[in-house]
Symmetry: D2
Subunit: 346 residues, 4 copies
Amino acid sequence: MKAAIIGVTGYGGIELLRLLANHPSIDVHSIHTSSQTGMRLSEVYPHVTNLVNHSLEEIDIPKIANEVDVVFLSTPSGVSTTIVPELLNENVKIIDLSGDYRLKNPNVYEQWYKKPAALQEDLNKATYGLPEWYKEEIQNSRFISNPGCYPTATVLGLAPIIKHELIDESSIVIDAKSGISGAGKSPSRTTHFAESNDNFSIYKVNQHQHIPEIEQVIQGWDASIPYVTFSTHLVPMTRGIMSTMYINSAVDSLSLEQLYEIYKESYQDSPFVRIREKGTFSATKEVYGTNYCDIGLAFDKRTNRITVVSVIDNLVKGAAGQAIQNANIMFGLDEKTGLHYVPLFP
Amino acid sequence: MKAAIIGVTGYGGIELLRLLANHPSIDVHSIHTSSQTGMRLSEVYPHVTNLVNHSLEEIDIPKIANEVDVVFLSTPSGVSTTIVPELLNENVKIIDLSGDYRLKNPNVYEQWYKKPAALQEDLNKATYGLPEWYKEEIQNSRFISNPGCYPTATVLGLAPIIKHELIDESSIVIDAKSGISGAGKSPSRTTHFAESNDNFSIYKVNQHQHIPEIEQVIQGWDASIPYVTFSTHLVPMTRGIMSTMYINSAVDSLSLEQLYEIYKESYQDSPFVRIREKGTFSATKEVYGTNYCDIGLAFDKRTNRITVVSVIDNLVKGAAGQAIQNANIMFGLDEKTGLHYVPLFP
Amino acid sequence: MKAAIIGVTGYGGIELLRLLANHPSIDVHSIHTSSQTGMRLSEVYPHVTNLVNHSLEEIDIPKIANEVDVVFLSTPSGVSTTIVPELLNENVKIIDLSGDYRLKNPNVYEQWYKKPAALQEDLNKATYGLPEWYKEEIQNSRFISNPGCYPTATVLGLAPIIKHELIDESSIVIDAKSGISGAGKSPSRTTHFAESNDNFSIYKVNQHQHIPEIEQVIQGWDASIPYVTFSTHLVPMTRGIMSTMYINSAVDSLSLEQLYEIYKESYQDSPFVRIREKGTFSATKEVYGTNYCDIGLAFDKRTNRITVVSVIDNLVKGAAGQAIQNANIMFGLDEKTGLHYVPLFP
Amino acid sequence: MKAAIIGVTGYGGIELLRLLANHPSIDVHSIHTSSQTGMRLSEVYPHVTNLVNHSLEEIDIPKIANEVDVVFLSTPSGVSTTIVPELLNENVKIIDLSGDYRLKNPNVYEQWYKKPAALQEDLNKATYGLPEWYKEEIQNSRFISNPGCYPTATVLGLAPIIKHELIDESSIVIDAKSGISGAGKSPSRTTHFAESNDNFSIYKVNQHQHIPEIEQVIQGWDASIPYVTFSTHLVPMTRGIMSTMYINSAVDSLSLEQLYEIYKESYQDSPFVRIREKGTFSATKEVYGTNYCDIGLAFDKRTNRITVVSVIDNLVKGAAGQAIQNANIMFGLDEKTGLHYVPLFP
């Protein structure tokens, strides 16, 4: 299979390239960007010197669609809506890593993203690419909207207790933390080393655009869930997300053992979700560079509250790795193809 | 005034020394440790070369009590209980930075600390040294139990909404994050650079010994508050604590403006608590090296939930700085004496 | 004494403000910047909330000169040359933290800085503000050109062996490393956290504009010294410079003991230079936040080569602290005034 | 082919495991350690949960030699000498990652390592496993002594100019910097996060045990080279080594173009050495997680001095990756087998 990557110079794009470089069935045919066209990629990212010989090409949709089997869009919010409609007219699979096609309701998109939404008809065509819960839909889709990094960690953590109706639906509090690569490649004061190093900050309290994405997914499973509380923090590290979730139990005499059983069963066929040993929790480095989502659990009898701790690499399971997992499924490959790495540790 | 520091080679002790070095009214008379006696401090901490000429002395309580006005105890849990009883027999003020005298109920101490508790009669003599809420008690006390780092950030953040009875008492969720200096000076795998750098982890979920301390303080203000949920995370940075707190509002039509008014009024006479501009939140670096506790607020109408974000330097307001603030109050000095620094930034 | 700070929003400027906030004899009267005029400083730097109430003022030289005793210029290269000529016509002391008046030869400036040089007559008026070696000149000057960060660490390390004619003049190799705050406040790819964290890089090999500054100073002491080799590296930390210097000994049977004696004697009257215990070397954190320059020494009999290791905080002894030390000397104060801090550790 | 790893719980061992997990021709058959026998590896390193199911076995040499084709020894200094003699009696290939068999002269070993040396006859059997310069010897060897991390970066950087006799042999100055994983897995004050974070230090000045290793290699190429000057620094990052080398040119009218030609030609058949574009230098992150050694060059006409900048990942090309490269060569495989990764960036 041949792939094109549009928006390759962002961190999601460069990570797609890293992972696809060793993928046995998907070759990167061409890489595209709206600027710097004609440059070799190694001029922008010298770490690929000798390893990636592609040059940056312009975004010529008919040409791309003619030459490849799948197009990965790793573009900022608001760009995919200008490219996807044309791609949908072509005979090519599409995996969009941006947020543009995740929210089914264009009004909600416009409220949270402050940008014009995609067309409703195109939104309807997009399949939410969370393979652990929508594998069949993905198999039958040609257009995937790849989940956001925070929602991936969060909804994988929440799914089993929601599906088993164990919780007080109005009690969900999500305290999420991310490495700074999540802010992307554009330098800013927030990502300026001198000010972000040795520092910990909170941002977009109650205002993060991933809030409606989380709500859409979990309300799809349990319509009685109202809004959630969700905060995001910046950790002085490059990669990694931890989502710490607090939920009141709605059942009598819940036990930690029960919780573990439910989670293990829920994910027994999901090779990238690892339920950790009871009493242990994964640190973000334990999934570094890989597509794993590690989940740990606690239950406090004193407060009748469940704590779920879910950890991913934001650039892999939170972006490029999950996109490749989706591509594997779309192409009928084993979903692990090209993704079975041992985390880089230390 | 003359001071002795017992346990000076821990991070709390060395920070006491840094701050007292420029204190106009309190001189460090002697420094003590249970090991390394006879060495100059600069042999253990070369950064004090030429600046601190004291040598490490053994812990001879009668001699110490005879020579100084105040003794700071910056010792690990379980050590103060072997020293304080003797000190209480002497005519000297005592400020204990350890956790040994914070919990009034010895059974609770033994349950959470897994160590023998102090004597009940000595526990009764200890005043909880949180100056913003117990200033009068501190003025009249000769024995201060200095608050824990997490409880300081947390209860300063919770106090106004508890005292104004704005909240659902059973809904308090506290997600706390700390720099790694909070783990102290002893090397361990958890604090090993190669494994903690570029990493974010959670620890002691529902089991941190600061949980009963927080509960004791806030239940003292509102006996109807049941247990709280409290998690602690390690951030790859040296100093700083952020406590992010989620609490359901119990009142109709709460507004963010109201919240800010209540917080500003609550702390109008507290020089070290800074209520931040509406809509902004302090990052930990914004209090680096200083005794400030910065508080930011959010209220989400969608969920009727309040978010309080409280930030301190764990070694200053969370330990040595607060101890000096307490000493100032005990000696009748302005509580800011020797503590009015601008945070080190960047 | 009253001071104005021009360029206060850069890291040198904000550090001047931090240190002057506790200076007993110099008050910050006004702060100035070419942009953001009218804003309160706390809007740009929220860490000064409640502590600095100044607003940013425009740069009106006659007004400033009329109101203050000393003007600190903490502006980027090329800006001071537009301000200093006017200031020289006024009755006010001037301390310029930029590189504009350090090089006496305007051609050399233009070659290395790629900018128009200052007027030769104004260059002649500037005193190079390295107090350890030019104290008398500073006392008699009203216009100080504050040394660069790398040159400060480097020439303090080289001075004793040059003045004692111990070295092969053509053999000086300087390998310097700096924290990322040295790159200033403007975000760029080089200072972008995701790419600079957990990374170590070299830059401006043989091309750093501090090379001619170092050469000018040491050639002033020994005209037979030719060019030096000087490389600069970026360390993933906020503050700190280490300059590791390698110099061939030119004398027979040099001993390490001799070297230490020479250094101790050279700096016996320099309160901010600390010659470390034989066999030990200071890490950058051991001077964090302070005006100290720590020097360690090695001599390798196998190669007959001396290694000098000199460490400073680039924003203090390498910028704001040294500027205040110069101001103290100009005003006839003890040079330590307002600068005797214990390093922040850990 | 089957492999055993002795000393798997060190960072070199765990990195061997990470890389061999995806090696198409070498399977990890068993893993061994002197302690923690019987535990699953995931209990010590939870990041391998579900990925590595091996348990830690004791070190039974005959059994190991009977079952595998190659033994990797990733043990601390002084341990290999107790294992290798027995292994040499067995029919198995040996790759020793420790320093025990690198120095051919046992007296030199004992002087620098302060430990008893290996037997001279066994030292004679060991092949120094630097594939770029000893490929043929490695092909014909069954016992490889894998180079040290600093020597790998350093001698790859020095080789071309030494072999082309371009330099003043007595002028070699090497200023090396390493991430903290180079200090290994044992916690210590030096590697304690609170003290090593945001800090830069120098250690073992003129005393590092890699000095004689570097000298042995380069003197093997040019016997007229005397001792070298070599310093090592700790960078607050996990992985990566940069060796910055300063060497006087011995030829008239050397040009940078010439230098680049020589380096490119020298390494044209070395897939893991990347000579960077003229005027650019690799940062350590540009080889993160991979077996590449990136080299950049400068020549300063002013001083007639060459600067060589060589960068590796200390745990890959400086340890486990190079060991696998050696194994590939010993087994007649393409040396890149299992090692062609794109660096993890950012």
